[in-house]
């Protein structure tokens, strides 16, 4: 088989490849001469690849090109992790999330814990008190009933500790090989207290950025289990419901009104991707200090070995908060009194410079830009 560039491969792309990086010049003008003899095709994905679910650039491509054009409305356009709806005078937070993790049991939890914590946290990130959940199960033929029982028991205890109840649900079974043991979708609803107004677009220059604890635990726990990697000192998932931590933060003593501007739980794509989303939504810059970002030694070591960056590794029980500067220390102190915020830290601040971008001062004294993740993080060769 002799391969040379074909006409089809040489054809310039219809759209510029990178939607996040606004180009000044018209793409056509630069494309043609550059690709005249290039046999490497630039391809738009014709099929879904795993990276479309990574929470990074490929995921936002899907949202921007497929979902938003179909469903567009002012509430959805905010693209927060939850919708805040005013219904009959009450402000309700509403969200949904699907869970497809492999393995379904992992150090520190299982898919059932995640299904509760994930949805509770999406509600809590609006400042809402989560109230009710639904659960839909897609079960693969052959799943041991004991496994399902364990998962459901975990959901029960997680819901109990988060103070929420399952009030409706659904079950479907698919042929063996058509699913992967169990997929769970949970939907949640909660009430936003009066006076609380938390949204990604509210970050302002001068605000402090707080992180509730060690990053990367969940992603590395899953990876070590999935890939059969053994690291010294087991890494456990951090999966936890954060609503009580949020409630504690909102109850910070002698708080000035409206001090808490943004809350996000950095799940897929990690802390770096989440901060980028806030920076872009609020059109502000961010400057982090690498040394102040808490990373557990075992996670840092495992990331070094695999060539991964903990800032892009998923968390399931951490939050990032953007807080008015004069309240930062008080909120930090308050977080540290909570079991889920003991290792909380102020990791940087919001700035007026470089809007839409997150910069980090490295340990050694250099500076780098933290961009959003573009697909799956892949282990490096050496």
């Amino acid at each position: 088989m002799l391969r040379r560039s074909t006409e089809a491969e040489r054809k310039p792309m219809a759209t510029p490849p990178d939607t996040t990086n606004e180009q000044q010049e018209a793409p056509e003008a630069t494309v043609s001469p550059l690709f005249g003899s290039c046999p490497i095709p630039i391809f738009e994905h014709k099929q879904i690849v795993l990276g479309h679910g990574s929470g990074g650039k490929l995921t936002s491509d899907l949202i921007d090109k497929i979902f938003l054009p179909a469903f567009r409305n002012p509430i959805l356009d905010k693209l927060d992790d939850q919708a805040v709806l005013t219904i009959a005078g009450a402000r309700l937070a509403f969200t949904t999330d699907s869970f497809v993790v492999t393995p379904i049991f992992f150090p520190g939890g299982n898919i059932g814990h995640l299904a509760v914590h994930g949805t509770v946290n999406d509600l809590a990130m609006s400042g809402a008190q989560p109230m009710y959940l639904s659960a839909a199960f897609i079960l693969e033929e052959g799943l041991p009933v004991d496994d399902l029982r364990r998962i459901v028991e975990s959901m029960r205890s997680a819901a109990e500790s988060a103070g929420v109840q399952f009030v409706t649900g659904d079950t479907k079974v698919v042929d063996r090989g058509k699913g992967d043991q169990v997929f769970i979708t949970t939907t949640g609803i909660g009430v936003v207290p009066p006076g609380v107004n938390i949204s990604a677009d509210r970050a302002q220059p001068g605000d402090a950025i707080l992180l509730s604890g060690y990053i990367g635990d969940h992603g590395m726990a899953i990876m070590s289990q999935r890939e059969g990697l053994e690291f010294e000192g087991a890494i456990e998932s951090d999966c936890a419901s954060l609503n009580s931590l949020v409630a504690a933060m909102l109850a910070t003593p002698s708080a000035t009104p409206d001090f808490l501007h943004c809350l996000r739980d950095p799940t897929r794509g990690g802390a770096a991707t989440t901060l980028n989303e806030i920076a872009k939504r609020a059109n502000v810059g961010m400057l982090l200090r690498e040394q102040s970002i808490p990373v557990r030694e075992s996670v840092r070591g495992a990331c070094e070995v695999l060539g991964l960056d903990p800032l892009y590794v998923a968390n399931e029980g951490k939050l990032l908060a953007v807080v008015r500067a004069d309240m930062a220390q008080a909120v930090l102190d308050q977080m540290r009194t909570h079991p889920l915020g003991k290792e909380a830290a102020i990791i940087g601040g919001v700035v007026a410079d470089h809007p839409g971008m997150v910069l980090m001062k490295t340990e050694i004294g250099g500076t780098r830009v933290l961009d959003i993740m573009f697909g799956e993080q892949l282990p490096r060769i050496c």
Binding site: L2, R3, S5, P16, P17, D18, Q23, T30, L34, S37, C38, P39, I40, P41, I42, F43, Q47, V49, L50, L58, Y214, E227, L229, L287, R289, Q291, S292, I293, P294, V295, E297, R300, E304, E343, A345, I346, I347, A352, D353, H354, P355, M357, L359, K361, T362, E363, I364, G365, G366, T367, R368, V369, D371, F374, G375, L378, P379, R380, I381, C382
Partner: protein, 388 residues
């Protein structure tokens, strides 16, 4: 963290840079050979700390980058076969061939798996006796021992369903090619620490002497790179050109002899094509005739696949240190990690990909934001020690 923070200390970094300033009398162009070093330089912003006139250019030491497009097409042809489980290191999955990458092959039903150790292929082979397990054995001398071990174990255990698609390259011939080029700008090298941990550094002594270029074998942490840069500048300023070892906590002149013996049992030196550079004589490994039963290129009908490299992409010049990513009009716009146009954008260790990953394609607004925040905050105490 033990043995990491020690090599990332900002105060020590400042002292090393101050010493560079003290001894430097003229501009120097140095090349870090390894992709891992490039990655570390850009990730930590080490180049921002260097005195003006000390320029680091990025070398050919990214194994993913230099794997020829033709070899990627061969890998993809094999990976598409229904009777094959194709195993690869993670960062090869995103490398596009002429038609898609391994991710798209996987999404179309191909069985493509990421392995962390080549030996994982043996487990996969035992669990799937009806399938052919093919490992994409790429890399420099660093990955050669582990890849050789897979071939050797497959042979010893008479496994009939394990083979390797080999595209191994060697550092010393690439350095010679760079130094011999009339366009060469490189005056000294930060040598490849991990490669020398396997091979030792005797091979570099004649190269350094012949071309009068200092070679300082260097590690990968920020202070390793800064110290090796200082050592190289010192040699240049003093008019010396020898091989020195900055990475002595890891390697010595002889290297890892058992690893070298294993490589010798499995591989023999051969001519190799380098992506972006072309064929360099005696610059790689191929499987020895005794291992032919595990040679995927022979087992699968892929010898006929010939793909020509793009002429326009400047990655060849980048890999030889003649140009930098910013010199390419497509960098960061038409060429990015999602849509790489050439060698140096495809792997995290490629110079273009490293520049992209650490935001060098973005221009922070607020004038010289990157520089402005650099010096002042070096000594800023962390609000929280954070790290365990």
């Amino acid at each position: 963290m033990k043995y990491l923070d020690e090599y990332r200390d900002g105060d020590v970094a400042n002292k090393i840079v101050a010493e560079m300033r003290r001894i430097q009398t003229r501009p120097w162009v140095l090349m870090e050979v390894c992709g891992g070093q490039t990655h570390s330089i850009v990730k930590n912003g080490i180049d921002q700390l260097l005195p003006e006139g000390v320029e680091l250019v990025h070398g050919p030491g990214c194994p993913v980058c230099v794997t020829p497009l033709e070899m990627i097409d061969k890998a993809h042809a094999i990976a598409r076969r229904p009777d094959v489980i194709f195993c690869s290191f993670g960062d090869m999955l995103r490398v596009p061939g002429s038609d898609g990458d391994l991710f798209t092959i996987k999404s179309s039903g191909g069985d493509v798996r990421v392995v962390y150790s080549p030996l994982d292929c043996l487990k996969i082979a035992r669990a799937n006796p009806a399938k052919q397990i093919v490992f994409f054995a790429i890399g420099f001398e660093t990955t050669a021992p582990a890849n050789a071990m897979l071939a050797w174990r497959a042979r010893e255990e008479r496994m009939t369903n394990v083979s390797l698609l080999v595209s191994h390259v060697l550092v010393p011939p690439a350095l010679e090619a760079i130094l011999a080029s009339p366009e060469n700008r490189v005056q000294g090298f930060l040598g490849p620490g991990h490669v020398c941990a396997v091979m030792g550094y005797s091979e570099y002594i004649p190269i350094s002497a012949r071309y009068k270029a200092p070679i300082v074998v260097a590690g990968f942490e920020p202070l390793d790179i800064l110290e090796a840069t200082l050592m190289t500048i010192k040699q240049l300023e003093e008019g010396r050109a020898v091989v020195e070892n900055q990475y002595s906590r890891v390697l010595n002149q002889t290297g890892n002899l058992p690893a070298q013996q294993l490589i010798g049992k499995v591989f023999e030196v051969s001519d190799r094509k380098w992506r972006g550079i072309g064929t360099i004589p005696l610059s790689g490994y191929r499987l020895r005739e005794e291992i032919a039963a595990h040679d995927a290129e022979k087992l699968f009908d892929v010898a006929e696949i010939v793909t020509l490299e793009p002429e326009i992409c400047i990655s060849g010049s980048i890999l030889r240190g003649i140009k930098k990513p910013h010199d390419c009009p497509a960098f960061g716009t038409l060429c990015n990690p999602q849509h790489p146009l050439g060698a140096t954008m495809v792997s995290a260790e490629g110079a273009c990909a490293a520049y992209y990953a650490y935001g060098r394609h973005l221009k922070p607004q607020g004038a010289d934001a990157l520089h402005r925040i650099a010096p002042a905050a070096v000594h800023a105490a962390p609000v929280n020690g954070g790290r365990a």
